[in-house]
């Protein structure tokens, strides 16, 4: 039993990963495997929900950093949703909001995959 779980759901081309528990140097490899699996399956439109995530360290943020380029070059994106203030602060301290699309909830993120990119 680790303190971290990744739950996967699919909605057409879009995959939703719901993170639960804590994401640190111990559990980051689990998220890495989940993302690598999606890339192997060519499912690159990815939404990650942080609703049930209680903690994140730089090891967790580094996972997103490690995959974003590959995902985008394959025509997809990793969109981040439902962050509480504590989690958002860590992303913000490291300047991630300029690099990642961060949305309030999953449905907005799903919709945004259907629309042309504004940037």
């Amino acid at each position: 039993m680790t303190g971290f779980e990744v739950m996967r759901a699919e909605n057409g081309e879009v995959t939703l990963l719901r993170l639960k528990g804590y994401l640190d140097a111990h559990t980051a490899p689990d998220l890495e495997s989940a993302l690598q699996k999606l890339i192997d399956e060519k499912r690159v439109k990815i939404i990650v929900s942080f609703k049930e995530l209680t903690y994140i360290s730089s090891a967790g943020l580094g996972v997103f950093m490690g995959f974003i380029e590959e995902v985008r070059s394959g025509g997809g994106d990793i969109k981040l949703t439902n962050m509480n203030q504590k989690i958002y602060r860590v992303f913000d301290l490291l300047g991630f909001p300029t690099l990642f699309e961060i949305r309030d909830d999953e449905s907005h993120a799903v919709g945004s995959f259907a629309q042309p990119k504004s940037r």
């Binding site: 640190d24 140097a25 111990h26 504590k86 958002y88 301290l93």
Partner: protein
């Protein structure tokens, strides 16, 4: 919340699955001496980053080694001293990264020291041939309070 001098200590094997216990130890002591959630989460993250660095870099994932986490409390501040007996490093080479450049290059890893410096009021590295220490402090009166709101904003 003025405090009398106290010391707490944890010696724990250098394994990533112990990071949770380390965070819990530090958070509990911080709460006990009166820190609020916001400061506690900064302290626990800074300590996690320091210990994760010890596990990965100083001990290079050798889980037979120990990490010592000591907390010293005095009237003004809460100090955490993390000691390892692994591979040293040159503290002069630890620069605060330019985050814009860093993000542009999409580098993985190495964010921990930047976070530690940002989250704590003071940080010092003490490197000896067979012993490395990271010494981090947070003052009971928030020295950085005037900057605290900058990072609290939520996305649209």
């Amino acid at each position: 919340m003025p405090q009398a001098k106290k010391k707490y200590q944890l010696r724990i094997p250098s394994q990533t699955d112990n990071l949770e216990l380390i965070r819990e130890f530090v958070s509990r002591v911080a709460r006990k001496v009166g820190f609020k959630d916001d400061a506690i989460s900064k302290i626990e993250l800074a300590v996690d980053e320091a210990c994760a660095n010890v596990i990965e870099h100083a001990y290079q994932k050798n889980d037979k080694k120990n990490i010592d986490v000591a907390i010293q409390i005095d009237y003004q501040k809460f100090t955490i001293i993390i000691t390892d007996h692994g591979r040293g490093f040159d503290p002069k080479k630890i620069k605060t990264p330019d985050m814009k450049e860093y993000l542009a290059q999409m580098r993985v890893g190495g964010l921990g020291i930047y976070l530690m410096r940002t989250l704590m009021d003071e940080i010092d590295f003490n490197v000896h041939p067979k012993r490395n220490q990271v010494i981090m402090s947070k003052y009971f009166l928030d020295k950085k309070a005037k900057h605290a709101d900058q990072s609290e904003a939520r996305p649209n």
